[in-house]
């Protein structure tokens, strides 16, 4: 491929690459060919999408369909619960839970004979009707994909597919039509806020870096997604890496930086691979490097590997890590926009924030700011997980309620159980309850309710989750992640974790609950960085919303969810047990004994309280006491 030397070259490539996307634009663009899109994201790959792609390739060849049918490995469709996902375009047929053995059926029934493969279509759990188009599935109805616009649509490893979807046209527009000041103005007017969690206005950040004095400036992408249970950034990097590269170049033009750095977790091998590939392709096409599109603008991007430290999500810690030091945060000011990487002005944004930029430039600030609420514009991507029917990656306009997310998109609570809590913001966030379900979500409303937007982890819990254990789970996460620099975080969080441990073991006192709250407030007020200041949030929010449950652990020595091992034991109800032996056969420590067809018995000394017997008993004879 010869380098693109001007805007005209890029436009010509955009025009000539349109046929690639013709199938994917639906029946209107139909060309008599078919494109089979298979999700190749980590989640679907884990449930077997790689052999599906191989089988499609083999089958297409065996039937001699190479000229008419192509298979594309895409990024995440979002509907991970029903993965692996296969979508046939231009027919717009959405197949779920596809197995490698179904491939031949899809080729013969659908591709050759033009009929749908009924058993692979999604069945609406309420109406029992099969649904062919993804847009009509409850999971997708309330979603709006802006940051994820190309995930599940294009082949992330092919830059021409990105260009065919208007990729790099936003960069070209900035370089040829707008001054750097105008670009900052558009981003500011769009109202885009930092998607890493705090929601700081992106335009304001860019303006500060643009204002800062210095002959060398840097654009940094924070791809150190550390929140356990969140995988939004990874999915964007795997499914649409060029959107992040393009946005960084736009930002570089706006603030006056010619160098970009992506700080990425080494634990994301596929995302690292895709980024390396995307950077190489963009350089080959002349969309990164020197004299981009003949405009005289230079911009280059390099990767910096993280090595597993949650605190490196904090901008100053991230910068120290990129410099090859321990990831310890420093006091602000000076902000990174004045003194960042190698003491130079540095702009740090998160992956999802960047992914929004190119489309804002293309469609305008007004379009973006018309979506969302008064104080939070645009959409937010969430990794919806936990005890909900539809686990997956979702993107909704700001202002959508938690109820809509959990019950309409998420399809309600698994196994018909009762909703108990929703956790947002990961280790820095909090747990919200039934009474918060109708709040339209945005940065302010979630903070006011005692949680926070966070990077986008959203974990749904039912009555089998113990809220004291959940608070302990997050503290157990934060304690080893503390960098150790400031006392409130290093020592205070450790003390909090110890108190929670005591409470979950039934040894807590009412005085401990008081101490727990006071220490939490003190840590919030005095810790050095965002990690320490927010780490007590899971405790404070559960104390506020689930006070009764704490009291039960302390006073009654009971765990109503049956989670805290020291407070429970299992018993077999003799009146119900029929002596089938399923529990005894599956018990990993052989703690259950009994004659065939006679009620069984659990040896409490041997029992490790793993709960396997409860899941194996078909007669609900085993009770948690």
């Amino acid at each position: 491929m010869a380098k693109l030397k001007s805007l005209a070259d890029l436009q010509a490539l955009y025009e000539s690459s349109q046929p690639i996307m013709a199938d994917r634009k639906g029946p209107k663009g139909s060309t008599g060919t078919k494109t089979i899109l298979v999700c190749g994201d980590t989640g679907c790959a884990a449930s077997g999408s790689v052999p599906i792609i191989e089988n499609f390739k083999k089958s297409i060849e065996a039937h001699g369909l190479q000229d008419k049918v192509k298979v594309i490995r895409t990024g995440c469709f979002g509907f991970c619960e029903r993965g692996p996902i296969v979508k046939i375009m231009p027919d717009n047929t959405f197949y779920t839970e596809v197995a490698a053995d179904d491939v031949e059926d899809i080729i013969e029934t659908h591709i050759i004979n033009g009929n749908r493969v009924e058993h692979l279509l999604y069945t609406d759990p309420d109406t029992q009707e099969t649904i062919e188009e993804s847009e009509n599935i409850g999971f997708y109805k309330k979603q709006m994909r802006i940051a994820l616009r190309n995930c599940g649509v294009i082949d992330a490893e092919n830059i021409e597919e990105y260009i065919a979807c208007e990729g790099y046209l936003a960069l070209a527009k900035c370089l040829t039509e707008y001054t750097p000041e105008k670009v900052v103005e558009i981003v500011t007017e769009s109202g885009l806020g930092g998607r890493g969690g705090a929601g700081f206005p992106t335009g304001k950040k860019w303006a500060a870096t643009a204002r800062a004095k210095g002959n060398q400036k840097y654009m940094v992408c924070n791809a150190d997604e550390g929140d356990p249970g969140a995988f939004m950034d990874r999915s964007i990097l795997e499914g649409d890496p060029h959107s992040v590269l393009e946005a960084m170049a736009i930002g570089g033009y706006a603030v006056g930086a010619d160098k970009g750095l992506i700080y990425i977790r080494a634990e994301y091998p596929m995302a690292v691979h895709r980024l390396h590939m995307a950077i190489a392709q963009a350089k080959e096409y002349g969309l990164l490097g020197e004299n981009i599109l003949g405009t005289g603008f230079n911009f280059d991007i390099e990767l910096r590997y993280g090595a597993g430290a949650f605190v490196c999500g904090e901008a100053t810690a991230l910068i120290h890590s990129m410099e090859g030091k321990r990831g310890e945060p420093t006091y602000k000011p000076p902000r990174t926009s004045e003194k960042g990487y190698l003491e130079k002005p540095t702009n740090v944004n998160n992956v999802e924030t960047y992914a929004n930029i190119p489309i804002i430039i293309r469609k305008g600030a007004e379009w973006f700011s018309s979506i969302g609420t008064a104080n939070s514009k645009g959409t937010k991507v969430f990794a919806l997980a936990g005890q909900v029917n539809n686990v997956g990656l979702i993107e909704v306009p700001m202002g959508t309620t938690l109820r809509e997310i959990i019950y309409e998109i998420g399809g309600g609570i698994k196994d018909g159980k009762k909703f108990k809590a929703v956790q947002t913001g990961g280790p820095s966030g909090g747990c919200l309850t039934e009474k918060h379900l109708d709040i339209p979500i945005d940065y302010k409303s979630l903070t006011a309710a005692g949680s926070m937007m966070g990077s986008g982890g959203m974990v749904i819990m039912d009555e089998t989750s113990c809220m004291v254990s959940i608070a302990k789970f997050y503290l157990d996460f934060t304690v080893p992640e503390s960098c150790g620099k400031c006392n409130p975080c290093r020592i205070g969080n450790k003390r909090l974790a110890e108190m929670l441990d005591k409470i979950t073991k039934g040894k807590g006192t009412m005085e401990d609950l008081e101490k727990l709250r006071n220490l939490s407030i003190n840590i919030k007020d005095t810790a050095l960085c965002g990690l320490g200041q927010s780490s007590p949030n899971p405790i404070l929010s559960t104390l506020d919303n689930f006070w009764d449950e704490y009291v039960e652990h302390v006073v009654d020595k009971k765990c109503r969810a049956g989670v805290c091992k020291d407070l429970i034991h299992y018993e077999i109800n003799k009146a119900v047990c029929i002596g089938c032996g399923a529990c005894a056969r599956n018990c990993p420590v052989e703690a259950i004994s009994g004659e065939r067809k006679m009620p069984h018995f659990i040896d409490q000394e041997t029992c490790i309280k793993c709960g396997t017997c409860v899941t194996k008993c078909k007669f609900n004879a085993i009770q948690i006491k």
Binding site: G229, F231, G426
Partner: protein, 160 residues
Amino acid sequence: MCKFELNETNKQIIIDVCRENQFSAGNVIHVLHGVQGKLGYLPAEVQEFIAKQLCIPVSKVYGIVSFYSFFTMNPKGKYPIDVCLGTACHVRGSDKILEEFRRQLGIGEGQTTDDGKFSLSTLRCVGACSLAPVAMIGEKVFGRLTPNQVAGIIAEYRDK
């Protein structure tokens, strides 16, 4: 398990990685990634040798190795087992899965079995939350696990 030896071959491997990173102290994290990728782990002798190559105190190298959870000073097993302890896996019972791996293998987190076949560690989110609870053995993901599947999975690998 044979003891690590900093022989000429290993020294050359380390020097090559340092050269790729211009022997720059600022690239020490990339150097450690590269060396761990080739040698499997970063024992004390290796850290000392890297420090010399990059002209920085060994305390700085150790400070980094001990700070970041990705770096390890112990060799991993032939089949490294990682149990996901992300929130989504936690609420679906990952603690019970981890406990069962510990019990079956007789080792704790960060340890390796005496025969060098298995090592056990935990990680925070594989991103396969729809399959929670999840564990990985090498590159393979095992989803929707229950404690009583664990023994079978270990047996499958033990006989390999």
